[in-house]
Amino acid sequence: MDWTWFHRWGSPPWFVKNVTPWLKWLLLLAGLMLVVGSCWGLLIAPEEAKQGNSARIIYIHVPAAFISLAGYYTMAIAGAIGLIWRMKIAFWVMRSVAPIGAAMTAIALITGAIWGKPTWGTYWVWDARITSMTILLFLYLGVIALINAYRDVDNGYRAGAILGLVGTINIPIIYKSVDWWYTLHQPATLKLTEDSPIHPDILYPLLWMIASFYLLFAALMLANTCRHILLSESNKRWVRQWYEEGK
């Protein structure tokens, strides 16, 4: 197998030079999709039969929760690649994803609390889904703290990657929590293999918002990775050249 593409992505100058030109367009597209999706979900989509308008928070809550999980395995896989191949760029990706994932987890928890009050009658209950999501938030914060805790940057990255890998089991637990235990959360609505018990008028804007959040996540991750590359390599000659060329 030809591995040159893999090594090319591992080169910091190549990464920055090939990502930055289209990064702003990706961010713009993600922003536009979010605006369209929000208008669709808030204004055009019908209200929910039992919950009324309060169910519209689903268009933020569910996509944010999706990204909080996607961000975690991106972070853990990047950490594993960094540990095994000692690729610096993998650690930069890991470091870039952590705060984005933490923010998405916090958004999911906060919107969930806001949704819980009118629907369930409480902001917070220690059911398995909410508890495991709270653990996810602290795992993200722990990884961020560990990366920054060492004077030697490489040790920090290795420690952060190890904590991230130890926490991976939390991801299947979050997914399956509503099936394994009695929770206040309902069983999964979106199903890949069978019909989802959600009306298409509510489903399509939701899927659109999930796609928008994925795009936003990709754009933020790439932007933050470029930022960390430039910060770490700021005294290298290629950075100066790249900066002069861009001016």
Binding site: P46, E47, E48, A49, K50, Q51, A55, I58, A80, L83, I84, W85, P118, T119, W120, G121, T122, V125, W126, D127, A128, T131, I162, L165, V166, T168, I169, N170, I173, W181, Y182, T183, L184, Q186, P187, A188, T189, P197, I198, H199, D201, I202, L203
Partner: protein, 148 residues
């Protein structure tokens, strides 16, 4: 693959597998504590402790909700399909509380295994439908899809 990298890959896999097994064993051991509520069957079989704070969850039995003539006391029955357990609650019920819908009540079981609740939470099902569609379900008298 380079032998050093292969060895590091094995270390990483061992790290993930062993920590996962440890955490799964812990959560398996604590299974009963992770469950948010007891089902009515567990209440009638005596698995739920008396005189302690417990939660009981299930479907509110159709026609079981009765309100006291004065005050805010409500009595209703919860079922999981095989057993029924009674709940009395003084307070304001959440908007989504209804007969035929799921609810979780938090309180203590008295000697008759009736839950004296201090808090009642409504549980939403995994269906999301617009009001018009929900109306046609009722009109046709069609069976509601599975699950609560």
């Amino acid at each position: 693959m380079h032998p050093v990298r292969k060895q590091r890959l094995i270390y990483v896999l061992m790290l993930v597998v062993f920590s996962s097994v440890a955490i799964l064993l812990v959560s398996f051991a604590m299974k009963d504590n992770i469950n948010l509520f007891f089902s009515p069957s567990e209440v009638t079989s005596g698995k739920a402790p008396l005189g302690q704070k417990v939660r009981v969850g299930g479907m509110v039995v159709e026609g079981s909700v009765s309100r006291a003539d004065s005050g805010l006391v409500t009595r209703f029955a919860l079922t999981d399909g095989s057993a029924i357990s009674w709940v009395s609650y003084e307070g304001i019920l959440p908007d989504l509380f209804a007969e035929g819908e799921a609810a979780v009540a938090n309180g203590t079981l008295n000697a008759d295994r009736e839950l004296v609740a201090t808090e009642v939470l409504a549980k939403h099902d995994e269906q999301y439908v617009p009001p018009e569609v929900a109306d046609t379900y009722h009109k046709d008298g069609a069976e509601k899809p599975e699950g609560y």
